[in-house]
């Protein structure tokens, strides 16, 4: 029996174009991924089921771990205004060079007295574990604590420059004792900042 011959046509598709598009998309996503700054205090946040994302700007982050509190706020213009104001409040003169270096510090935790030293150090040295002792949270006599001042001046700076209210977020370590957190919440309540966010990592409801 003669074999029925089925005409075979080539099913090869030219994938060069698809490959180009794929690499373009890839490049886009790689470039829009922001590099993470090394943190001076590594914190392990507890997990929760909330899925609301944190806003990126005009939000101060209080990192609480190992009994220390670190302060960070995005926005170079705000940081510049902040160091000017803090310099005035504590009577410390910062040079132009120091102010510029401060504006690139993401997060820090040192008392005002040691601020110049930290500014003078290089990035990797600053972020060495255990180096920075945290911002003092105790009030000195009648004067409010340094943390109180930092938060207050940052709020003023944000209102002046961006005309929005600054939000506050707390990034605490899971194992941190409650009294430390309570102290920070107290300082916030003193300034009438009664709404803030707790930074958590994601987990499913059934865990």
């Amino acid at each position: 029996m003669p074999r029925i011959k089925i005409g075979r046509k080539s099913t090869a598709i030219d994938m060069t174009a698809m490959c180009d598009v794929a690499f373009l998309l890839l490049t886009f996503f790689i470039l829009t991924a922001t590099a993470r700054q090394p943190e001076p205090l590594p914190v392990d946040t507890p997990a929760s089921t909330v899925k609301i994302k944190l806003p990126d700007t005009d939000i101060a982050t209080l990192t609480i771990g190992q009994g220390k509190v670190f302060f960070g706020i995005p926005g170079q213009d705000i940081r510049r205004s902040l160091i000017d104001k803090m310099g005035e409040a504590y009577g410390i003169q910062f040079t132009e060079e120091e102010k510029k270096r401060f504006t690139v510090m993401e997060s820090f935790g040192v008392p005002m007295g040691n601020l110049k030293q930290i500014i003078a150090m290089k990035g990797e040295e600053r972020n060495k574990a255990g180096l920075q002792p945290g911002i003092p949270t105790d009030s000195v006599g009648v004067r409010a604590s340094e943390l109180h001042q930092w938060i207050y001046q940052a709020r003023v700076a944000t209102k002046e420059l961006h005309n929005v209210d600054m939000r506050v977020s707390i990034k605490g370590d899971s194992k941190e004792r409650y009294p430390e957190i309570q102290k920070v919440i107290s300082i916030l309540q003193d300034q009438n900042v009664n709404k803030f966010s707790l930074i958590t990592s994601l987990r499913g409801e059934d865990n």
Partner: protein, 183 residues
């Protein structure tokens, strides 16, 4: 299937020198697969890396004394956070406890079950879904931050609208000590 063909059309005949042209078909399917895998990876890691925020609103500090609202004891559950990731809860107020304090752990089978049960009970009793369970969270100094976040998370999961963080009182600390949750 997907190919990159650089063989130049199979070679023309003619001329004395006829070089043998080998077919150079490169299959690009694997490259495209890899590219899409990398895209998916970067897309997901940039969104997952953003931390989540859980909002809290605290009452004004100064108005604390005036705002000791007389809330119905029958609708209130007090949750005391102790050490060792355990908590103790009871209905009512510390001088007039309506249910005996029970010790529980966190999570689905722990406090969540109790909260859902009590919530249903209270709404059943008042008949108004807006007058639901009121939760007072009282962390002790021996509890940690994770306990606080967990209990606030439970509030979100069980959909309880009225809750607040308040100061723990001395008799409640005694309760915790008595049950070994104050180490």
């Amino acid at each position: 299937m997907a190919e990159l063909d650089t063989s130049g059309g199979g070679g023309k005949k003619g001329g004395k020198v006829r070089t043998k042209k080998m077919s150079t078909r490169v299959d690009l399917t694997a490259m495209v697969d890899l590219a899409f895998l990398l895209i998916t990876f970067f897309m997901l890691t940039t969104t997952l890396a953003k931390p989540q925020a859980m909002d809290i609103a605290m009452p004004d500090k100064d108005k604390d004394e005036q705002q000791e609202l007389t809330i119905a004891d029958t609708r209130t559950i007090n949750i005391l956070l102790g050490s060792g990731n355990k908590l103790e809860w009871y209905m009512g107020s510390v001088d007039k406890q309506l249910t005996p304090p029970e010790i529980q752990g966190f999570g689905k089978n722990g406090i969540r079950k109790a909260l859902i049960e009590k919530s249903k009970e209270v709404v059943g009793r008042t008949g108004d879904p807006k007058k639901g369970l009121i939760v007072l969270i009282k962390p002790s100094e021996k509890s940690n931050y994770r306990n606080l976040v967990d209990i606030l998370d439970e509030m979100k999961i069980t959909n309880i609208q009225q809750y607040g963080i308040s100061e723990i009182s001395a008799p409640e600390i005694e309760l915790l000590k008595r049950d070994g949750l104050f180490k």
